[in-house]
Symmetry: C2
Subunit: 591 residues, 2 copies
């Protein structure tokens, strides 16, 4: 058997870029990897905390998945690892099954990553990437914004040093407010000052460093090191001033060493209760990942293969599951940083994995004194950039149905949690789309005198004949609007007695399904019973092919005209009296 090398490179993009790797690329990839590693250490710990998991699982999820993506991914710069929204969804999914802090909880998160990885792989192998299309942009935008608000709110408990539970905004706020009396002064000071520091680093540090004459690349590295500095400073403070004894929650003991080999659970009960969540996590992670990967690839005229991305992300999640991690995907800000720092190939990701591996082996003992408030501050500053309510204004201006989908998704995600929010959003946007197309734009048209064009009789001064009704439908005909058309035509012809011919003008009818065919047949027969003929005009080629397969045309009481002008000439004899004929001189219009 000959191996198809083209196909092989398709499934293993590493064979493609790997064969052209060189020294220049290596040095660029190494610099990018350094910056991303510095950014990823606190983020990976923080997102593990957000998912309700031990800190080391954040590190584990940032090693093997990056290596797997480097082999299978098609984006040169996508930085895979734990991300905020997927971590929140993990907490929501696993929280239904086990109590936070238990071994079952961690095991369920590993299983969730495994199921999610399998789903992505299957979608990739069967080229089911199109399923992600059912997540409309307003739904994703509303979902991400609402998730950002939920995440930021959920971290306030760490800033105040109190207990709080819940997966919805009312739950989290209620639980937070009722425990607020127990807040810890030192925790609050650490939390608030770290948050303020990180906001300043994000907005003000880089311009300041550039102003002091530092090179842009160095300024970039130092600015991205803000969270690492916050981690270091608060850890030292906690150790020096004995925060533990004063009731400040610390990360505590983190086992050091390489990721363990883990096995997902295979209990059918666990699988069936995690499957729906895994599907949502997979699809949302995929959509977000591909969107950032495509934006960055376009800047260098590179190409992303969405179905191969499914395989890349699937492999990453399976890798995460067998190395003690939890669900991962491509992170937006981290990928942008990777790109800006000059990463040229997925090797940058692999080098990042090595950096995190070193951290897991050598830095973990130092994490004992890291206050959880510091990590919470990192999360809050990161996720507030996700919150973008401008989508509400934009969709309000653009189309009310999209606005309805966004606002429902935001409200339902905040009020009922991530899973209800995103599922209802998807369902609602599908229903709204069906509703819109179930009442298509339809116009009764007449001939613009002196031309061969037909326009809406309500908007233009056009030529019509009492016995001839021409209706133009601006939508494909299918089950959701088939009966609408029936009703419309009956209403029109029972209103006016002298009608003898109805022409359906179909230039924008891209398809006619079996329901619509049935309706057309019913219209044809019922009009025939009324002594009225039904004609079609300007039917598209593929639609005509379908109609001919069932001999609809043979059954039609009228004719099928290539153009509406021909239809009008044949049925209303307007040619001689009113309009310029090709090759004939113009005659007077009788309106």
């Amino acid at each position: 058997m000959r191996i198809n090398s083209e196909k092989l490179r398709g499934y293993f993009p590493i064979l493609d870029w790997g064969s052209r790797y060189n020294r220049d690329r290596l040095s660029n990839d190494l610099v990018a990897a350094l910056i991303v590693t510095i950014m990823l250490i606190p983020q990976s710990l923080a997102y593990a905390l957000l998912a309700g998991l031990p800190a080391e699982m954040g590190l584990y999820a940032s090693i093997a998945p990056l290596l797997a993506y480097a082999v299978f991914g098609t984006s040169r710069v996508l930085a895979v690892g734990p991300v905020a929204v997927v971590s929140l969804m993990t907490a929501a999914a696993v929280g239904n099954l086990a109590l936070q802090g238990t071994a079952e909880y961690a095991a369920a998160a590993i299983t969730l990553a495994f199921i999610s990885g399998l789903i992505l792989l299957v979608m990739g192998l069967f080229r089911l990437g199109f399923l992600a299309n059912f997540l409309s942009h307003p739904v994703i935008a509303g979902f991400i914004t609402a998730s950002g608000i939920l995440i930021a709110t959920s971290q306030l408990k760490h800033i105040f040093g109190v207990q709080a539970q819940g997966h919805t905004l009312p739950q989290i706020l209620g639980s937070l407010l009722s425990n607020l009396g127990d807040f810890n002064w030192i925790t609050l000071m650490v939390g608030v000052s770290t948050t303020a520091f990180l906001f300043w680093v994000r907005k003000g540090l880089k311009p300041l460093l550039l102003a002091t004459g530092l090179g842009p690349r160095m300024a970039e590295i130092l600015a991205k090191a803000g969270p690492v500095a916050a981690v270091a400073l608060t850890t030292i403070a906690a150790w020096t001033f004995g925060f533990e004894a004063r009731g400040v929650a610390l990360v505590g003991e983190v086992p050091s060493g390489l990721p363990p080999l883990t096995l997902p659970g295979f209990s059918p009960q666990v699988w069936s209760s995690l499957f729906g969540s895994a599907l949502l996590i997979s699809v949302i992670g995929f959509v977000e990942s591909v969107s950032v990967a495509q934006t960055l690839a376009a800047k260098k005229r590179q190409r992303i293969v969405p179905n191969q991305e499914l395989i890349g992300l699937g492999a990453s999640n399976v890798a995460s599951a067998i190395s003690g991690g939890f669900p991962v995907t491509g992170g937006f800000s981290r990928s942008v940083v990777n790109f800006d720092a000059g990463a040229e190939t997925p090797a940058a990701g692999a080098f990042t994995a090595v950096g995190i591996m070193l951290a897991a082996v050598f830095l973990t003992p130092l994490l004992f004194f890291l206050p959880k408030a510091t990590l919470a501050a990192t999360i809050i500053v990161a996720v507030l950039s996700l919150v973008d309510l401008s989508i509400l204004r934009t969709t309000w201006t653009y189309a009310r149905s999209d606005f309805a989908a966004v606002s429902a998704t935001v409200v339902l995600t905040l009020g009922f949690g991530v899973e209800v929010g995103v599922s209802s959003g998807v369902l609602l946007s599908i229903l709204l789309h069906l509703y819109k197309t179930s009442r298509p734009h339809v116009a009764e048209v007449g001939l613009v005198p002196g031309t061969e064009h037909f326009r809406n009789i309500d908007r233009h001064d056009v030529l019509t004949r009492d016995h001839l009704v021409t209706i133009r439908v601006d939508e494909s005909l299918y089950f959701a609007n088939a009966r609408f058309l029936e009703d419309l035509i009956y209403d029109r012809v029972t209103k006016d007695c002298p009608v003898t011919d109805v022409v359906l003008m179909c230039p924008a009818v891209n398809d006619i399904d079996a329901s619509a065919l049935e309706s057309l047949e019913a219209i044809n027969h019922r009009l025939q019973d009324m002594g009225i003929r039904l004609h079609l005009s300007e039917v598209k080629g593929p639609v005509m092919d379908k109609l001919q397969r069932v001999d609809f045309v043979g059954d039609l009481s009228g004719q099928v005209f290539l153009s509406q002008y021909e239809a009008m000439r044949a049925l209303a004899d307007v040619g001689d009296q009113t309009v310029k004929l090709p090759g004939a001189s113009q005659v007077k219009t009788q309106a």
Copy 2:
């Protein structure tokens, strides 16, 4: 306050036809009512049996509902009452809640009629008739056919005189086969001979009567009296030969008298478990009813108002619920008979109600000896006319996606019951529609030399330019196909390096939703990053209005052209070299 008489007549069509009632119409309506009554007596008893209810409930469901429809309905000839499919659905819905034969079972059927009536009334008042459009024709056809098979199979137990339960084909057949040893000879003889007799009446009696010189109307009445004759003959036989003592199942004691006043139950638990079923029953009943009503109305150039039909059917079901009945709708064969028999107004329905009322008062004592096998035979002969597998062949020829929807509905209805079958059918047809439109027909087009027309480059010999790519999309752009378009364009432009201009030709794009707008913006920016301009051409008016509201055009790297020909002239300078310009002489083509 002035009463709007036009509106009042809309809600009470009886005011309209009632004011023009006369002696001729009365005599026609009376004859039609007589024929329908003769047909309805055995049917109403049989469908009560099918629904698992006492026989008298079938009579009750054929009195008040008909009077209510006569007041509120818009069809002149629709014959409302118990019908086969709705009775089967009632059995499935109520069977989940209570055991057949108990008082709870009958009470649940009454409540089901009430909820179904309320749903129909609410749909009518809020003009939600369009919701019925989500039931595509293939789904309904498949569902009705599968229901017919289920119903006929479920009646075999009465023909054999054995026990059998279940709501799916495997359950019914399995249960029937395992009890078949207990069959009763006399029951079987009654069942088989009645079935054969009824088939003969249906096919052979009327021609025979006409051949003997009988008038057509009399022949019609006698032919329709077949089931009544079977009922009378087998009842007499049962009484004469003491069938009861020989183990033949009889209808037994039927209380005689007018329908009782009943109240639906209001337990929230019962309502929540019946709501889904009531919704399905309402929608299916409505769709079937309107379809037959429209077909018959068209023959006399009359008009059906679908939203008012919802009110008519809703009132009928509420009337059924408060008079000891169960869910009803417009029956297909009965309405056709009513029409053929010359019914002119809904008064015919009211007269039929009077006929059934007389039967409920005077005939019920006679029903004691009626064998259930006779009723089962009536049902089998009636429902086999619903079974029409030709829809499988038609849809196979016409469109595979419609075939998939039909066959899935048939298989799932037979295998998992009516509710699973019809719900999955609806879901599947929606998903198939979304899938189809998520991969729209897209063509790269070029100029047909010597014209201003553009055609697919793969099918026609057209003029193109290497730096200019024109893509025509034959579908509205919305969330399900937005990313498809993105991928398509990136694939096209990363393949060919010299591309500098992409034109999206939009004559068949009837809408662009917010997701597609976002995709167009992304395409625009990413192409700009690649040094490629994006243009649009032939954008429809309403779509252009939306795009202008968000200033998409101002953001666009290229232009919006009124026609594709203008676009090509502006971008490729083909006008001077290759095609006939308006007002210019033709020059040589440079291919």
